[in-house]
């Protein structure tokens, strides 16, 4: 193994070859795509999910039922199916297709989080605000949601982590996010020390982002 390419490469030399600046930049570009898909779909899901969660919590009967049906169906189907379906059944470019696929799925998850957050606010808050002349939407926007948001921070953060991890699935439709970039590198540096170093590095990059996110959420939760 140490004699790869006819050169006297020790394991260290091979690892150095893998970890050259060019390759690290290549991986960081992948991380950028990972974060772009994650941030884009999370932002969209937050908007749609709040809307859906509010409808399910207290919307008109038909709307609540429709929201509920959407959430139940989407939550019980693998995300990968949406990734494939949006990619191959719509004319969207790959990156947009990935963001839409994750939005379809994450909207349902966020809606459930919002519903849980709304349920955690005592009815008295509604009654008090109504007695002060607030409209239903006014109560929701100014009184209920700001309080609910505080309880929603931990589940939203873990949902964000789930999204960041699951973006690795989009490599299946050829998008070069972090996992994809890693697999491309693996094709070029196919020795035991290099492959194991590469996997450790990929895991460490995901871990740094996700662990940081979960720590940050805990900090915000304590302060709020």
């Amino acid at each position: 193994m140490g004699q790869a390419n006819g050169k006297d490469f020790g394991g260290a030399g091979m690892i150095e070859e893998l970890l050259q600046l060019k390759n690290l930049v290549f991986l960081l570009q992948g991380l950028g795509v990972t974060l772009l898909i994650s941030a884009g779909s999370l932002a969209l899901s937050f908007v749609f999910g709040t809307f859906l969660g509010v409808l399910r919590h207290g919307g008109p009967f038909a709307a609540a039922k429709a929201a509920s049906l959407y959430i139940e169906v989407v939550r019980n189907i693998p995300n990968l199916l949406f990734i494939l379906a949006v990619r191959f059944l719509t004319p969207l470019p790959p990156l947009a297709a990935a963001i839409i696929a994750f939005t379809i799925f994450t909207t349902a998850a966020v809606a459930e989080i919002v519903r849980g957050g709304l349920n955690s606010i005592p009815k008295g808050q509604w009654e008090a605000a109504r007695s002060q002349g607030f409209s239903t939407v006014g109560i929701l926007v100014h009184v209920i949601l700001p309080q609910a948001l505080r309880n929603m921070i931990p589940p939203l953060a873990s949902q964000a982590i789930t999204v960041i991890k699951d973006t690795s699935f989009v490599w299946v439709v050829g998008i070069e996010e972090l996992t994809g970039k890693g697999m491309i590198l693996m094709g070029m540096y196919a020795t035991l020390p290099q492959v194991f170093t590469l996997f450790s590095l990929l895991a460490a990059m995901y871990f740094a982002v996700n662990y940081g996110l979960s720590r940050w959420a805990r900090l915000v939760q304590v302060k709020a």
Binding site: N76, P78, L80, L81, T179, F199, Y206
Partner: protein
């Protein structure tokens, strides 16, 4: 004229070649079952260790839980499938599915079990100790039976996530439902019906569990 993505003859093709989907469904069900057993075994062991007072037991548990919860399943499965062969260990893809998904979800199960154990009042342990139970007997005969009502709904939820995540096998040609459907559709381009049928089959596996969780959550909300 170009036939639509959901043209009738495409549905007929799915109906005619149903064994493709049935085989995938069988593999998905079997991998899910075995991975669930592994996740429960790991989760129980690490959950008890995580709830113990011994630092030597809690430390490794934190590492296991944080590592697997903060890195993508896809990376873990790629490591088993693409990385380990470099070290001379070639696992059959079915085993990659069971091990990958089982170990990943074991980390989530461990946190559920730990939270369940910590929710049992301390007095229960003290009472058991006063009756001459040792730590192990206390855990098995007194503490764990009382966690059942707390841990069953989140465990069933985890089972739904686990079933959905077996679709990661499609990324390593694992012969599961997602892979069978996608490779069938890639051959004849009948994506529409293939994906709808696949979605329905996943719903058939996951929806009963999800409904049960909903019912449990409602009854416990009433009792609380």
């Amino acid at each position: 004229m170009n036939p639509g993505p959901f043209a009738l003859f495409k549905w007929e093709a799915v109906a005619a070649e149903w064994p493709v989907f049935a085989t995938g469904f069988g593999t998905t069900a079997l991998v899910s079952l075995l991975a669930l057993l592994l996740a429960l075994a790991l989760g129980l062991a690490f959950g008890m260790a995580g709830a113990s007072t011994s630092k030597g037991l809690r430390g490794p548990t934190r590492v296991y839980v944080e590592f697997f919860q903060n890195t993508p399943l896809v990376i873990q499965v790629f490591f088993l499938y693409n990385g380990l062969p470099y070290a001379g260990l070639v696992l059959p893809v079915f085993a990659v599915g069971v091990l990958g998904v089982g170990i990943y979800h074991g980390a989530y199960v461990a946190e559920i079990i730990r939270a369940g154990i910590e929710a049992v009042p301390k007095g229960q342990k003290e009472a058991a100790a006063s009756q001459g139970f040792n730590a192990w007997q206390t855990m098995v005969h007194v503490v764990l039976p009382q966690t059942r009502r707390i841990v069953l709904p989140p465990l069933a939820n985890q089972a739904v996530f686990l079933i959905k995540n077996t679709s990661v096998l499609a990324m390593v040609a694992g012969g599961d439902l997602m892979y069978q459907a996608d490779s069938w559709a890639a051959g004849n381009l009948y994506y529409g019906p293939a994906y709808v049928v696949t979605g329905l089959l996943y719903l058939a596996l996951c929806l009963p569990l999800s409904r049960w969780v909903r019912r449990m959550e409602k009854t416990s909300a009433v009792q609380a």
